[in-house]
Amino acid sequence: MIDVDIEQQLGAFHLAAKFTAEAPIVGLFGRSGSGKTSVINAIAGITRPARGRIRINDVSLFDAEEGIDLPPEERRIGYVFQDSLLFPHMDVESNLLYGQKLRQARERFIDEARVVDLLGLRAFLRRKPKMLSGGEKQRVAIGRALLAQPRILLMDEPLAALDVSRKSEILDYVERLRDELAIPIVYVSHSVAEITRLADTVVVLSDGACLAAGDVDEVMGRLDLKPATGRYQAGSLIETRISAHDSHDQLTTLSFDGGELIVPHLDAPIGERVRARIRSRDVSIATERPAEISMLNILPGCVTATEVDGGPIVDVQIAIGGSMLNARITRRSFQQLGIRKEQHVYALIKAVSFDQRSVRYAGSAEER
């Protein structure tokens, strides 16, 4: 349980963030300059807010009224920095053990061997940080933070300095931490892809204020947050479960509250929970059920909201059963079809618009 309510003036920037979140992974989302790093710096005790309180799992780390302000070393917050910040004069193993040595035995819940195996660090324990690649450095930084036996792990854009292939490698490791260690993680990012893949709960920050906090599917799909979540990144998330595989055509059927989605074959068992991300621009709208069309996914729904801002593009939100789907069409089509609120329409999605990046396994039914 993370409970943050702080106010802080940083030069010309005013931060006033208030949110509570409880989830294995809490995403802290916002564009650069929105105050994400300021928030986790305050949680870690690196900066001191002018007023407010910070509580993690009912432990008060900061409370201006009660005069509580634990120094960083007593907060037991694992902080993974954007550029790893490994100690250059120590080898990998000394880096890993730096924090562990400073914690008492009774505070320890994870040991070196476990961390080394989990993050695949065995091969370069004796190396100096200079000799590591960016991805390896970041893995060591994660391990170092974990061995300091933290109550919570803060990750500040841990992928920002990495190339694309390293990014997905680190994301895999973060998912392993979540699944195997049961340590709460606050994951800071400006990338919708990372947030939707990892986070269960998301907090959206903009200009130093907290715009929304809640379930990631619901928050990231909201049209009114588009200025903060971004036009080019717009999309919707649908919680689904694998219901069938078609081995002949190599397709997989996902069922969700409102219908079924057909996507290219997914290598996972039936019953597995899958979070499908559908980009708004991959969704077309028809007012009548089209016949003789290549699109495999034709979903009947009802328009719940439209957003026309005078530009050439219109966003339409469609309720399909209990799920929300966003479609992005041109203003011309919008007017020609005469789309209005509460109108019954068909949302069309090409099956090929799904790829490995747009689905995320949310763990099988038995685990949850």
């Binding site: 690196i46 120094p71 960083p72 070393e73 037991r76 250059p88 004069h89 400073l102 200079k130 300091a148």
Partner: protein, 233 residues
């Protein structure tokens, strides 16, 4: 020993003792001052900075004279130290060490300050979040990372101390066996008829000593940089 006369060995031994003691005693203070100048801003910082650098720009004789006035037996500091602690600087080898420490101090502070300023302070922040107290972080992160500067500063000050002449001769005079260090001995021999050969021998010793100090410094600096993964090769 190495073809040196007992007299020459005595001079060499005294010079090394003066330089080593001056460096060892001034190093902690130099680290403290360098840290204060590198990390904090406080009223009068420019003044402190100027005072630290003063021995670098003043004629050494002036520094020696100031020491004589302040630390002499009747000086305001010297009399108190003598009375309360029994420490005497005037006309003792300890006074020579004090003069070398003062003359080498700006060099030491400069080198240490530069390396402190080059440290990414977020490394210290990271160490704090990992559970390190302020003092432990200073010992385990800041000092090791500043080591190249500390070595350079120490060796520069050591070399400066070995060569110290003006302040030493003004403050503690030129007493054989007590305050007559290598440069003072060389000077003395050049003032005596027929002393040229002796002066030359001692000058050669000074050259060798300085070379050894330089090479050691270079080697130590490279070692400590390798330790930090900055291999220069």
């Amino acid at each position: 020993m190495l073809g040196l006369s007992p007299e020459e060995v005595g001079i060499l031994e005294l010079s090394l003792r003066v330089a080593v003691v001056s460096v060892v005693c001034s190093l902690p203070l130099a680290i403290l001052v360098a840290y204060g100048l590198a990390r904090f801003s406080f009223p009068g910082k420019t003044l402190v900075d100027a005072i630290v650098h003063l021995p670098l720009v003043l004629p050494p004789v002036v520094v020696g004279f100031a020491l004589l006035v302040l630390f002499g037996k009747r000086g305001p500091i010297g009399s108190v130290l003598d009375e309360w602690f029994g420490i005497v600087f005037a006309f003792r080898w300890t006074g020579a060490a004090l003069a070398s420490a003062l003359m080498g101090f700006p060099l030491m502070v400069r080198a240490i300050r530069l390396s402190l300023e080059a440290i990414d302070q977020r490394l210290e922040v990271a160490a704090r979040t990992l559970g390190g107290s302020k003092i432990w972080v200073f010992v385990s992160i800041t000092l090791p990372l500043a080591l190249p500067g500390i070595i350079t500063g120490t060796l520069l000050s050591f070399a400066r101390g070995l060569g110290e002449f003006g302040a030493t001769i003004t403050f503690v005079s030129n007493i054989p066996g007590e305050t007559q260090t290598l440069p003072l001995a060389i000077y003395t021999f050049t003032q005596v008829p027929g002393g040229d050969a002796q002066a030359l021998r001692l000058s050669l010793i000074a050259v060798i000593l300085s070379m050894v100090a330089l090479v050691t410094s270079e080697w130590l600096t490279r070692r400590s940089e390798q330790m930090q993964g900055n291999d220069r090769r």
